[in-house]
């Protein structure tokens, strides 16, 4: 039911309730409200409207996807949700709390973590150091306790190390704990970035093109990995991804952006067959040309 309103909110080039026909499989109606809700979010950079009146509801405990052609504004959505951009219009609510005006570090403390399209690890540190940095946001000791060797600080230091190491074990990187983060192979760096995000104890994780640059086997592994962490860490995952096999494989619900507008949403099957999505990706069929929908 929530999908219908979303469709109606979308005026513009693709004004259409193409999204959910009568047979549209809902299946996302969340019990007890959405985890994250965007309503009417608009983000402009000068004359360019990167996100245009976007409304969506992220259900709790699900893996969902955000797709669209290059430049559609997907990463901008991530930057708005994580507080790097402040949208000109619209509201963002996370677990019922408005996010407007909060800086990225506060948003992380609320339980939203993310990874980056171009991996951003702390190159100077070891694999373990990277995950430990993620644990920082939940720590209680203050920096001046370190030189004083207060027991509360020492205990917390130890627990951060243990927690980080346990996390590395769960993502299968424990053997590389002492290695330099940027010496890891590409796929492992992706997993490390996810582990670092998990260390902040999020209830909502945003993955920006986690399968970029991976071969079919690696992206296959990644799919299982994402499904596994969703299960084990009991969180919601929103991913941007171009690899349709991955998106269709793990996402229970998908939103499609084009030129900053939501053009479609629904389950993987609907999206695959949605003519608007096909148009957005492949262009309009030639007049009278063959069109396989």
């Amino acid at each position: 039911m929530s999908e219908c309103t979303l469709a109606e909110d979308n005026a513009g080039r693709f004004t259409a309730k193409t999204l959910h026909g009568p047979g549209g499989s809902g299946g996302v109606a969340p019990p007890g409200g959405p985890l994250l809700e965007l309503s009417g979010v608009t983000m402009r950079f000068g004359g360019v409207t990167a996100i245009d009146d976007l409304s969506l509801k992220i259900p709790p405990q699900k893996v969902v996807g955000l797709i669209g052609p290059n430049g559609a504004g997907k990463t901008t959505v991530f930057n708005v949700v994580t507080g790097f951009y402040q949208p000109q219009e619209g509201r963002l609510e996370f677990e019922g709390q408005p996010l407007a005006g909060l800086p990225p570090q506060k948003i992380c403390a609320l339980g939203i973590a993310r990874t980056f399209q171009n991996i951003r690890l702390f190159a100077g540190g070891t694999v373990l150091d990277n995950v430990m940095v993620g644990c920082h946001v939940r720590r209680k000791a203050r920096w001046w306790m370190a030189p004083l060797c207060l027991p509360v600080f020492l205990r917390e230091e130890k627990s951060i190390k243990e927690k980080s190491y346990a996390l590395l074990e769960r993502v299968g990187l424990a053997r590389a704990a002492r290695e330099k983060a940027n010496s890891l192979p590409y796929g492992a760096q992706r997993r490390l970035e996810i582990a670092r995000a998990l260390a902040t104890e999020p209830s909502f994780l945003l993955l920006d093109e986690p399968a970029a640059g991976m071969n079919p086997q690696e992206s296959e592994d990644l799919m299982h990995f994402i499904a596994k962490i969703r299960e084990e860490f009991n969180l919601s995952i929103l991913m941007i991804e171009h690899d349709m096999k991955v998106v269709m494989g793990v996402c229970s619900h998908i939103w499609v952006l084009d030129y900053g507008r939501l053009i479609a949403e629904g389950g993987p099957e609907e999206i695959r067959n949605n003519p608007w999505v096909i148009t957005a990706y492949l262009g309009r069929p030639a007049e009278g040309g063959p069109h396989s929908a």
Partner: protein, 381 residues
Amino acid sequence: MKAANPSPISEPHALRNRLSTLGSAALLFLGIWWAGHNLDGYQTRLLNLVAVNAILALSLNFIYGFSGMFSLGHAGFMAIGAYVSALCILTPAQKEMIWLLEPIYEPLAEFMTPFVVSVFLGGLAAALTSLVIALPVMRLGGDYLGIATLGFAEIIRVLFTNLAPITNGAIGLRGIPPYADAWWNYAWLLATLFVILSLLKSNFGNVLKSIRDDEIAARTMGIDTTAYRTMAFCVGGFFAGVGGALMGSLVTTIEPKMFNFQYTFNILLIVVAGGLGSVTGSVVGAAVITILLEWLRIIEYPMDFGFIRIPGIPGMRMVIFSVVLMLIIIFRREGLLGNREFSWNAFYDFFGSLKKRPDVHLGHLLRFLRLVKKLLAGGQP
């Protein structure tokens, strides 16, 4: 699976290494005791300069090397530390004699504290000043921060030249009690090392390095980057103030002109040559460069090679030194140690392998010792 094997996260041989650290600290003080009885005034002076320069280099490395803030305001922090501490240790009688042109600001005339408190207050004053500067300056990054902090140091210098009731103006302060002997200097060096290492080895060190490596990722990880950069700036400022306070008491005369950009540059040189982001590098760099600078004085004396006579050229050592620096930057940009650190495990591993291949390593060791001996001996005119 969940119960992590504790061995990978706890440092191996922790007890042995801790004892080694304590042992070497004891050895250091034994060395100072020996030096007090056997070294002449010049050599003792050199030894003291090494300690003070090491404190200054550590504080700058904490700001620049570990937290990634290019700060050129070190001379300013030093000046604040030196003046505040000097004002605290000068006796009322001395103050009456020094402030001739303009009388001293009344409340300061009788104010006196013990040396250790004075140095601490010097550091505290520098830290508070850096906090005030941090507020507007922390939003700048990279070179802009360098320019802003450089401007700050100049402001301090000009202020101190004109605040005669407090600083005695351009004449400066003379006859500062020479309390800063090797004991005090090395005790403060150890304290600096302890504070900076305990911060860097904790997760707060990881946080600072993460801000240096990638500020956006650090903010995403929930780190208040402005707060932590300010913290690093203030801790660095504190120890710069401490170094300045010790330096003031060591040279017994301070004037605003002394704390010009040249001073910041010398410290920066130690940090870069020793290795940005290496505590070991700063200490080793301070020792090597301080001694080398003295050793190079030979070049400034007239030399007679028999067939050619070179008259003494004052300032020649700075030329040579600059050339050396250029060579370091061209051929070894990461400095002597890069961002590597001394570790007891590596130390013991080295001696473990020494047992297996004594011939090779002993050769290295002897060559190194000979070099150290030469450097130390060469320092004497």
